[in-house]
Subunit: 214 residues, 2 copies
């Protein structure tokens, strides 16, 4: 059972967690890294397959190469957008990849647990969803530890596989920059910059069928 | 900043959260449902697209039809497995779908935010990953509220679309049974039943590249 204080802490971390793009070079205590990885490992997974791996990247050389792959993708995306504004945000993330003392590549192994994992047999992408739950646990834990985390999701997966020697069947789901920051916003950056508003929750809720308001 | 007590609460809920299969008929207080939905809505999302919707199902008739769809899938899966054991677990989940006072269908709308959502443009499945983060937030919040939650992930998506009138482009990511339970296990049920062990975390962690142990 959870006391009111415990509940309040849990809601607090859920609301305070932000996607961060700028980091200090301050090193991260080892025990904090262990705790956030343990939090990730306690995520739910379909058929208890635990499909995740965590590649901890501290080498400046490897970080540079990941930043190169993300920057290549940013430049390709710039062609699809009309202006500078759209890819400015992505540029900040690339700087973050270089600044943060630690980058974690979280991967998903669809073969873990054999050919017919319970549940995954019906909906194959449930392995990726499990990995996302692990990332969310890690993100909340990082926030609780006073650490900032930024999720980079623009790269060609094969570039990241090449750089990190990841086998072809393994899915590099996310690059997470982690470190301390002196720029921790109250609101999501894209909301703050009037890029997009938070949707009204009430409009997203239906009753017994699609489009039926409560 | 988070105090040690606050941090401990956050790690506690991450470790206590379980996937539950049996529910009491005890109704859930409205304010708890609102809080867990708000927790879901505070998940991160790629390009702040907030692709989720929540269909709250309390109608016994609709629950029966969802249980029918899951049972059809369970019977189909039974043909792929050799024995009874494999689909016994799935059978429990179907009972849970009928027992729980509330089922929430969480969906993902890949069109929300337009054609070129930042980040999703590079890796399209990031919308689903965002939705999984929302589910994880909801699950932790439910656990904090003393509620049990079970994720059902075996059904044909078109069956669920038919039953809930969901448009073809919307992805029904999960059926979540929610309620109180008198059977809340310490360990994951599949671990408890020796179905599968928890992996050694240390073996899942690499340093700077794939397969490089720390």
């Amino acid at each position: 059972m959870f006391s009111n204080e415990e509940k309040a802490s849990i809601y607090k971390v859920i609301e305070k967690r932000r996607d961060i793009r700028s980091f200090l070079s301050t090193p991260i205590q080892e025990e904090k890294i262990e705790r956030i990885l343990k939090a990730a490992h306690h995520a739910p997974s379909v058929g208890f397959m635990q499909p995740w791996n965590f590649i901890l990247i501290t080498s400046d050389d490897v970080k540079e190469r990941l930043a190169w792959a993300a920057d290549k993708e940013r430049r390709a995306l710039a062609i699809h957008y009309e202006g500078e504004k759209e890819t400015k945000f992505l540029g900040l993330k690339i700087e973050g990849l270089k600044e943060a003392p630690l980058t974690i590549c979280v991967t998903c192994d669809p073969t873990r647990g054999g050919a017919h994992v319970l549940g995954r047999n019906s909906i194959p992408e449930t392995d990726m969803l499990s990995t996302a739950c692990a990332i969310q646990n890690m993100w909340l834990a990082a926030c609780a530890e006073g650490l900032a985390l930024g999720w980079v999701s623009f790269y060609k997966k094969n570039d990241v596989r090449d750089i990190l020697d990841i086998p072809p069947h393994i899915d590099p789901i996310a690059l997470l920059s982690i470190g301390y920051t002196d720029d921790y916003p109250e609101k999501p950056i894209l909301e703050q910059e009037n890029w997009r508003k938070r949707e009204s929750l009430e409009h997203l809720i239906f009753k017994n069928k699609w489009n039926e308001q409560r």
